[in-house]
């Protein structure tokens, strides 16, 4: 029996894998020590769990275990990476380059450093959501200390040309940081091969617990340091103070291990399901895939259904937990800034749905989702005056709409 509603919002968060919970359980009960307690076995046992997690993470992203700084999640990691570099390298320069489609944790942090006197370039993206390498090259200055571009986008799944971006940053003597929140654990991320100096990521997007994440900070070629953003006991090589969230960290490690072992199989299964969902839904007239189809995370699709209003659509697909490009919590609708950056009109941005599949998504759930969305879109179009006008060949852009 299919249980409703069906969870297809795995870019927001993923369920905890039972195997991750199992690994965490002892650290929530018997092994409760403070990993910083060096004087007794309680502390040693906790530290052992933390160290093992570092090894599991290091294997997934091909780094050294010592290069992992534990944080409370990707938002903190993004803050620490950007603000930490801005402070640490202030003698060298004050210019940071990012993109308009970054997560708010990056964009708002960049706005913050602008207030502190920093200069930030926000690179535009093309209709697929990709930045232009020529734009990046042109934006580099002798004052550029950091280029921070996300690996895979949370709304569209678009994957940026990470290696080329890193190469350009390094050629100009800047560090390269990436927000790997959606990519780590989903696609192969190799900090050596990719040329990543700093990377933010989190457990709860890869079947781990919420409230724990990490910042990868390169230790050699070059040795990178970030200024701590929180004062205290000097944990995590002085870069992030605060008692370590041992159960969370153990969970993150286990999640990374599972991701490494199962990524290939998960990717094959999820991309096949995603492609089927996408193929079926785009048989509806006037439906458009947002973002790059060639360079994309395997478990995501974002589709706009023209002539259907976003909030009405969300109400129509009530059996699915999905996200829409419409943040309509008030009378003033704000369409997704990511989709707007791709050049989508407000109405297309509003009428988009984001489907994020997970390790636990089944074919039966996808079948149901296909039927449910098709039915809702068809019903709403039958009710839509815009659809009727479109069908009659009326050019909607020529109509003088009464503003209200």
């Amino acid at each position: 029996m299919l249980k409703l509603p069906i969870y297809l919002d795995n870019n927001a968060t993923t369920p905890l894998d039972p195997r991750v919970l199992e690994a965490m359980m002892p650290y929530l009960t018997d092994v409760f020590g403070n990993a910083a307690s060096r004087n007794h076995p309680f502390g040693w046992a906790a530290e052992e769990g933390v160290d093992y997690s570092r090894e599991q993470i290091a294997k997934l992203i091909n780094c050294d275990a010592k290069e992992i700084i534990f944080t409370s999640g990707a938002t903190e990691s993004d803050n620490l990476g950007i603000k930490g570099v801005f402070e640490m390298y202030s003698q060298k320069g004050n210019h940071v380059i990012t993109a308009t489609t970054e997560h708010k944790a990056v964009l708002d942090t960049c706005k913050h450093i602008e207030k502190l006197g920093g200069k930030v370039t926000y690179l535009p993206v093309d209709e697929k959501g990709l930045i232009s390498l020529a734009d990046l090259e042109a934006a580099m200055t002798p004052q550029t200390i950091l280029v921070t571009i996300m690996y895979g986008n949370n709304e569209t799944g678009t994957i940026q040309p990470i290696r080329e971006i890193a190469r350009i940053a390094h050629a100009h003597g800047a560090l390269f940081m990436t927000d790997g929140t959606q990519a780590v654990g989903k696609i192969p991320v190799d900090v050596i091969a990719d040329g990543i100096d700093i990377m933010a990521f989190t457990a709860h997007k890869m079947y781990g617990p919420k409230g724990v994440g990490a910042l990868y900070v390169r230790r050699k070629n070059p040795r990178v340091k970030v200024t701590a953003q929180m004062d205290g006991g000097g944990h995590e090589r002085g870069m992030r103070s605060g008692t370590l969230n041992v159960p969370g960290i153990v969970g993150l490690g286990k999640a990374c291990e599972l991701a490494r072992l199962e990524m290939e199989a998960d990717t094959a299964r999820l991309s096949a399901m995603r492609d089927r969902l996408e193929k079926e839904l785009t048989t509806l007239e006037e439906s458009y895939i947002n973002g790059s189809v060639e360079h994309r995370l395997p478990h995501v699709t974002n589709i706009s259904f023209k002539y259907v209003e976003g909030e009405g659509l969300m109400m129509g697909v009530k059996d699915l937990a999905v996200s829409s490009g419409s943040a309509c919590t008030s009378a003033s609708l704000e369409p997704s800034y990511v989709l707007k950056a791709l050049g989508l009109s407000d109405d297309l941005a509003h009428s988009s749905l984001r489907f994020g599949l997970s390790r636990f998504t089944t074919d039966e759930q996808i079948d149901y989702a296909i039927g449910h969305v098709k039915e809702a879109v068809t019903k709403l179009r039958e009710m839509s005056p815009l659809w009727e006008m479109f069908k009659e060949g009326v050019d909607l852009s020529k109509i003088e709409w009464a503003e209200h």
């Binding site: 002539y307 259907v308 109400m315 419409s326 309509c328 407000d346 509003h350 005056p385 815009l386 209200h404």
Partner: protein, 136 residues
């Protein structure tokens, strides 16, 4: 956001969805809202000229559940009313009937605008002056 049962009912089973023949002299059409604002309502009335009574009403709406419910409810209320009675429908009556939250009051305003706009169109078609429409 939690919708009231009445909004859900109108959204799930909208009354009077459809299109009247706008070439007919006794059919008035109101088209209000704008796609970029996220709401477009088209409301039509058919009037029995002898009695000045609305005999039929149809709508099509592009919008959220509350906008669909507001226009669906409006068509229900319009049928059987005289044109003058229809003009007296106030958006706050729709708000009350559907228990719309403050952020959705604009949906009821749009429905009232659509009613007045349809009546105005009917008047103009029949040689009467257009209504002064206040745009909210």
């Amino acid at each position: 956001m939690a919708y009231s049962d009445k909004v859900i009912d109108h959204y799930s089973n909208p009354r009077n969805v459809g299109t009247l023949d706008k070439s007919k002299k006794n059919v008035g059409t109101g088209l209000v809202g704008a796609p970029e604002c996220g709401d477009v309502m088209r409301l039509q009335i058919e009037v029995d000229e002898a009695t000045n009574t609305i005999t039929d009403a149809k709508f099509k709406t592009f919008g959220c559940g509350s906008a669909i419910a507001s226009s669906s409810l409006a068509t229900e209320w319009l049928k059987g009313k005289t044109v003058d009675e229809a003009l007296a429908i106030d958006n706050m009556e729709i708000v009350e009937e559907l228990a719309l939250p403050p952020v959705k009051i604009h949906c009821s305003v749009l429905a009232e605008d659509a009613i007045k706009s349809a009546i105005s169109d009917y008047r103009v078609k029949n040689g009467l002056p257009a209504l002064e429409l206040s745009h909210h």
